[in-house]
């Protein structure tokens, strides 16, 4: 989301690098160092662990005793909370999240790739001005777009069908909102590909579309992977866009909206709320654990949208 950040050299390796002996501090402070790092890890992990443990505890103990007592006998664990929330509409919300997220991701990546390729490898008047506009749009708060876009969805009724409240509305809106970051990320990556490759392809008679599909895209797999993960998680985790454009159409609500509604309506029913929260987290956590490398690269290689 921020424009033009870190010098490329600094991003060369974001993974762990072999540490030289010099990087280690004096042995005196080692103990303090380990203790503070372990404390940080515990503080960061406990909230999630608490939620996970509580979600497997029966209501009778979950609302009267702390999650930490689950580790002492009598051990009481159950899947009932998950069965309950999934049978009360969370299964539909889970499906809705996928139905919203996958097309919104496909649309953004493809449309951005065409535009990014034009920005990176085609000459035209106004190219720089237009790209600066894209950089500016990166930070535009989507709140400022809500009212006109909502009116647009209400007024624009192809074939007499109101788009407002449908999946189409969220697909289109997410595509619009996701494009500045996607164009920015891909244009920077396309632009860093070696010029000679495209020049010699053109000399050999390759059309721009051939260069794009056969050269630019295959060479940009890491950037495309980062972008796909990013857009997927952003749409999956979004609350505001779904809340506004799906409105009262509760059969279309994704996990984020259902979970936010449960928070107010379930009150003290921690066993259900914790299970529902974990259902909403499971896909992002799997994506994160399996594709962490690309996720990190997406963040460092151009920043993040907000």
């Amino acid at each position: 989301m921020t424009g033009a950040p870190i010098p490329a050299a600094q991003l060369a390796d974001t993974g762990t690098r072999t540490r030289t002996a010099a990087r280690r501090g004096p042995s005196l402070g080692r103990g303090v160092l380990h203790v503070s790092l372990i404390a940080l890890m515990v503080i960061w992990a406990i909230p999630t662990i608490a939620l996970l443990v509580a979600s497997f505890r029966p209501a009778s103990v979950s609302n009267t005793t702390g999650w930490w007592t689950a580790f002492t006998p009598p051990w009481q664990f159950t899947f009932e909370n998950y069965e309950y929330v999934l049978s009360r509409g969370l299964d539909q919300a889970f499906l809705n999240s996928f139905i919203i997220t996958v097309p919104a991701t496909v649309l953004v990546v493809m449309i951005a790739a065409f535009a990014a390729y034009a920005f990176a490898w085609m000459e035209f008047p106004g190219r720089n001005v237009l790209f600066v506009l894209v950089v500016g749009l990166l930070v535009v708060p989507l709140q400022i777009t809500l009212i006109p876009v909502l009116n647009f969805f209400r007024d624009f009724t192809p074939g007499g069908i109101e788009i407002n409240g449908t999946m189409l509305a969220v697909w289109l809106a997410h595509t619009g909102y996701g494009l500045p970051f996607a164009i920015y990320l891909l244009r920077n990556y396309f632009g860093s590909l070696p010029r000679e490759v495209f020049e010699s392809a053109a000399i050999d008679g390759a059309s721009p579309s051939t260069s794009f599909f056969r050269l630019a895209l295959p060479m940009s797999v890491p950037a495309l992977a980062s972008l796909i993960i990013f857009q997927f998680l952003w749409v999956w985790n979004d609350l505001l866009v779904a809340l506004v454009y799906l409105g009262g159409e509760s059969s279309n609500h994704p996990l984020s909206v259902v979970l936010a509604n449960l928070t107010t309506s379930f009150g003290g029913g921690w066993q259900y709320l914790t299970a529902a929260a974990f259902v909403s987290m499971i896909v992002p956590i799997i994506v994160f654990l399996s594709l962490q490398r690309y996720f990190v690269r997406g963040i460092t290689g151009g920043a993040v949208k907000g």
Partner: protein
């Protein structure tokens, strides 16, 4: 037929996933086929615009036009049929509730970047010196993958008043204190909402700062140490200045998060107990209050607050392009 398609969401989604790529690829192939037949001198001028057309359409419809329309709408009355000058803005700056929301956003904008960047830098520096670096990073980074809504549920559970359930109060009572109503006690409840953001975003700052840190040459640091600089001096005189541009990037990103913060407040307190923020206020005015004019004015105020950040970003982008 369109109606039936939209009713069956799953079918519609599959059609979209299959058809949209085909249509878009078809569009580009069609563009190229047409340009091949067009007069030779037209093609280079036309091609970029045809490749850009889908993106520009979306940006125009969903970002550029709505921004302008909202600015205009903010000068109109509730029903949008008459101009009322600055009335909506005057309303915003004269109400107790809205000024509290403004104050809270100021708190968010100051505290969130300070804590996130500070902690992120601390972790990045510390973690560079141990073998289990990747484990620490993964644990601190994980919250970034989940939603603010899920984080809000996680932390409502942590902040639960009953010390038999809420972890925070269990610790407080174990230490001999009385249970604290974390989300009700003013003005501290704002801090406890901000801490949810800190928990979620520190991993973001850590990852970027850690990458920046590893880009600093080890020889440079070693040379300073040989010259007799202690660790603190090395950090203050070498690491910090070299990292300053990266810190600025992280800070601006977090500032924007803080300005736009919505999900955490909406889910945890819905702005009650004097915790409201501008983005939630805007939502409430629109959907609860039925005041699009005021809501638009709030959105414009939020936008104006972000304009300086936008300017800084564009300047930074220009500088980087100049180096390229």
């Amino acid at each position: 037929m369109f109606d039936a398609l939209l009713d069956n969401k799953l079918l519609a989604a599959i059609v979209v996933i299959v058809a949209v790529p085909l249509v878009l690829i078809g569009y580009i192939l069609l563009v190229e086929a047409v340009l091949r037949r067009a007069p030779r001198r037209w093609a280079p001028g036309l091609r970029p615009w045809l490749w850009l057309a889908p993106a520009l359409t979306f940006l125009g419809v969903f970002l550029v036009y709505p921004t302008i329309a909202t600015i205009i709408r903010s000068f109109q009355n509730r029903r949008g049929n008459d101009f009322v000058g600055l009335d909506n803005y005057a309303w915003f700056f004269s109400q107790n509730d809205t000024l509290i929301a403004l104050r809270n956003n100021v708190l968010w904008v100051i505290l969130l970047p300070l804590l996130v960047v500070g902690l992120g830098l601390l972790v990045a520096v510390l973690v560079d010196r141990v073998r289990y670096e990747s484990t620490v990073k993964s644990i601190i980074f994980l919250p970034l993958a989940i939603s603010f809504v899920a984080a809000a549920v996680i932390w409502r559970f942590m902040y639960e008043l009953d010390p038999n359930i809420g972890t925070m109060n269990a610790i407080v009572t174990a230490a001999g204190g009385d249970p604290v109503a974390w989300l009700i006690e003013q003005p501290w409840n704002n801090l406890f909402l901000i801490l949810v953001g800190v928990w979620l975003l520190t991993g973001f700052a850590m990852v970027i700062l850690s990458a920046g840190l590893k880009g600093i040459s080890a020889e440079l640091l070693e040379a300073a140490r040989v010259d007799g600089a202690n660790e603190l001096q090395v950090f203050r005189r070498i690491v910090l200045p070299l990292l300053a541009p990266t810190i600025a990037v992280v800070a601006t990103t977090v500032i924007i998060y803080a300005l736009k913060t919505f999900d955490v407040v909406y889910t945890m307190t819905n702005g009650n107990f004097d915790t409201n923020v501008i983005a939630n206020l805007m939502y409430q005015e629109l959907f609860v209050g039925g005041q699009p004019g005021r809501s638009a004015a709030i959105a414009v105020i939020l936008f104006l607050a972000i304009v300086p950040v936008m300017y800084v970003n564009i300047q930074r982008f220009r500088q980087q392009e100049a180096i390229r």
